[in-house]
Amino acid sequence: MKRVVWLFVVIVVSSSLLFSAAQSEGAKKEKPVTIEFANWLISEDNTRPAMQAMIDAFEAKYPWISVEITGYAYNSVQDQLLIRSAGGTPPDVAQIAPLWVASLADMGALKPVNEILSPAVMEDFFESSTGGTYIDGKQMSAPWTINPVLVFYNKELLKKAGFNTAPKTWEEMHMMAEKIAALGTDEGGNRIYGRSVASKLLPGAGYFFFVDMWQNGGEFTDANGRVVFNQPGTVKAFSEAQRLFRSGVIAPGLEIKDNRNLFALGRMGFHLDISSMIKTFSIMSPKGEAFKDDYDVMMVPGGAGAPGVTFSTDHHLVAFKDSKHPNEAALLIDFLTGAEGMDVYTSNGVDVLPGRASALEAPYYKKLDSMNSKFADALPMARALPVQSAAFNAACEEVAYAIQRVCINWEDPAKVVAEIDATIKGLYNQK
């Protein structure tokens, strides 16, 4: 009797399974899909509403796709993407810094975006921003927002030091920085600094120093990708930095977040940063929105008589090889980078520039305020960092180490540059 009952149960269960399987085979077209989008915008206060709005708009446009947002702290994103890809369960789409693309590409974890996006969309991306992650003939990531780095300067501090106009050259900027630092302390008795240079032992400090390097005629790699770090221009950049650290114009041992705080507190003369910081400075400053009147931005002033050179720290989007929904991933990437996505992004109060030409159709870009116009003007001039090689990440940390050796340990710049050059060449497997 028991056996009969069990047999009956088995038949019922298996037939209902078969039945439901058959059902889902039939309803293919409108089958709901869930994709996972990993990013760090959802985690931060000033970008969270924008991120949520973008996803809501995307889901409204494509009702059968629901997006699950996974948030990561910025410092953990690279590790987690590497670990998850190694484990075979990456997200479907991820926001990424170009610096991390090469390592994932080397792993074979990424699906090149030119394989899932249409040629028309691929054409639409700015050349200058796609070049960085064009590896082995494939476009490994799609530029989302391009953030040129410009000089923020505190007009009030400049005025106090006796300057009414912005510096025209790199050398002039340093001269003004020294005068600003000579002001000593502000009303609260807090030390004022001339300019910011990040020197914590992280890659970010390294590549921000490239601005100093370039303005002095130095280069990191030549046109063939050979490491040419050891150059007179680079040594000069380090010597100059050492001088400014020594005289107290630059605060030692800080990472860029500390420098941002100091600028927002009105204790920093010159600071290199991206456009999204405009809103953040208003949040962090005791003066609130009124702080915006205290400062302005300018293109990086050129050094040694040459025009100014700067770079952009971009946010890109990547798709993964192990993703089960490449088509939906492509739709998300297309939406976010295109005019619709950028419109929602900028409508929610974040100042960012797009990676695609057609995105400039968004209303925000038609009426940029003066500060953001300057960032937009710098777009074509901003160099992409040489991120094609996975060794670049470690190399940037070596540059940060060099900064520490020269500016905290007071070693001889020429010697340090030569040694770090050898180390970096080793990382790149070059002699």
């Binding site: 080397d106 032992l201 605060a251 041992g253 940060a400 180490y401 050796r405």
Partner: protein
């Protein structure tokens, strides 16, 4: 005694008579046999072994294996055997001794500071004072803050430009420079990191030592007092032996915890300045996730494991000798 002996003999012959003198059925007939013991031992050890095998042994064995391979993110699926290649790379770079030294400094500094502080406080709390329970609970507060928050909190307190530490010290005229560097000063960075760790971890030691002190047999203390022993002699000959187990255990826990510590150091100094706070755990992380060389990261782990195992073996041998 004869009756008991008889009872024991009866059991070992395996008699299966139900109902002993207590009126309870003998469930286990062969309870004194070796087989029963063995089965019992392995059965009770099994869950622990299974959990550890699942979570740690397997990845660890794999880690040991790949430390002998060329194992980067490029070749995740086919690590190439390169025997001692990774080890050569680590030892050749000279940095390893540096990292080891930093680790020893960090562990030594943390454990010693905690120990002294906890001992002093525990002894003080053990005296005849009111409100011991309240004090104990208050001291525990810093222990409840998650490590990641501790690292950010102390980074902020030690921040040169807007940190409280400088403000207080400068106001008390203990330091000249109001924007003194702590975490970015090669000489003080390690101290800063140790300070944060001790702040968080000391409460556990305080509680444990205090508990141990309170469990000291009062009869022994009274006997010592009657014999006219001084405080110091009582302490050395009566108290210390009683709390030896507790002390030993908490010290070992602190040592092993400090060796593994990653979060505090990484978030406060990222291993700098000038790699002066790069301990072995930071070094392993950077090999794996900045240089993308998992083989080298694992190799560091293996070396570390060998060092720690050696220390533990020596410790075990010494404590055995002490017991004898």
């Amino acid at each position: 005694m004869f009756v008991e002996a008889g009872r024991i003999r009866w059991n070992s012959t395996g008699a299966s008579k139900k109902g002993g003198s207590m009126g309870q059925p003998f469930k286990r007939v062969k309870w004194t046999t070796r087989t029963g013991d063995l089965l019992f031992s392995y059965a009770l050890m099994a869950p622990a072994l299974i959990v550890l095998a699942l979570v740690v042994f397997y990845p660890m064995i794999k880690g040991i294996f790949v430390s002998f391979c060329d194992y980067t993110f490029k070749c995740l699926n086919n690590p190439q055997w390169n025997s001692f290649g990774n080890y050569k790379k680590i030892f050749e770079s000279n940095a390893f001794l540096h990292y080891l030294g930093n680790t020893v400094l960090y562990v030594g500094g943390t454990v010693t500071s905690q120990f002294i502080l906890a001992m002093v406080l525990a002894l003080l709390l053990n005296t005849d004072i009111k409100g011991r329970r309240m004090f104990r609970s208050l001291f525990l507060m810093s222990w409840t803050i998650p490590t990641i928050v501790v690292s950010i909190l102390w980074s902020w307190l030690l921040q040169p430009q807007y940190g409280l530490f400088n403000y207080v010290l400068h106001s008390l005229n203990l330091i000249k420079d109001p924007n003194m560097q702590w975490l970015s000063n090669p000489d003080f960075a390690m101290g800063g990191v140790i300070l944060a760790m001790v702040w968080k971890q000391a409460p556990y030691m305080i509680i444990m030592i205090l508990a141990g002190l309170q469990a000291v047999n009062t009869d022994l203390l009274d006997a010592a007092a009657i014999d006219g022993a001084s405080y110091l002699r009582t302490f050395i000959h009566v108290v210390l032996p009683s709390i030896a187990v507790v002390l030993g255990t908490t010290v070992i826990i602190s040592v092993l915890d400090a060796f593994q510590q990653f979060t505090i150091i990484f978030n406060m100094t990222a291993g700098g300045p000038l790699k002066k706070t790069t301990t072995l755990s930071i070094a392993a992380y950077k090999e794996a996730f900045t240089h993308y060389d998992l083989g080298a990261g694992s190799a560091i782990g293996v070396i570390w494991m060998i060092i720690l195992s050696t220390i533990t073996i020596i410790f075990n041998v010494k404590s055995k000798r002490l017991e004898e």
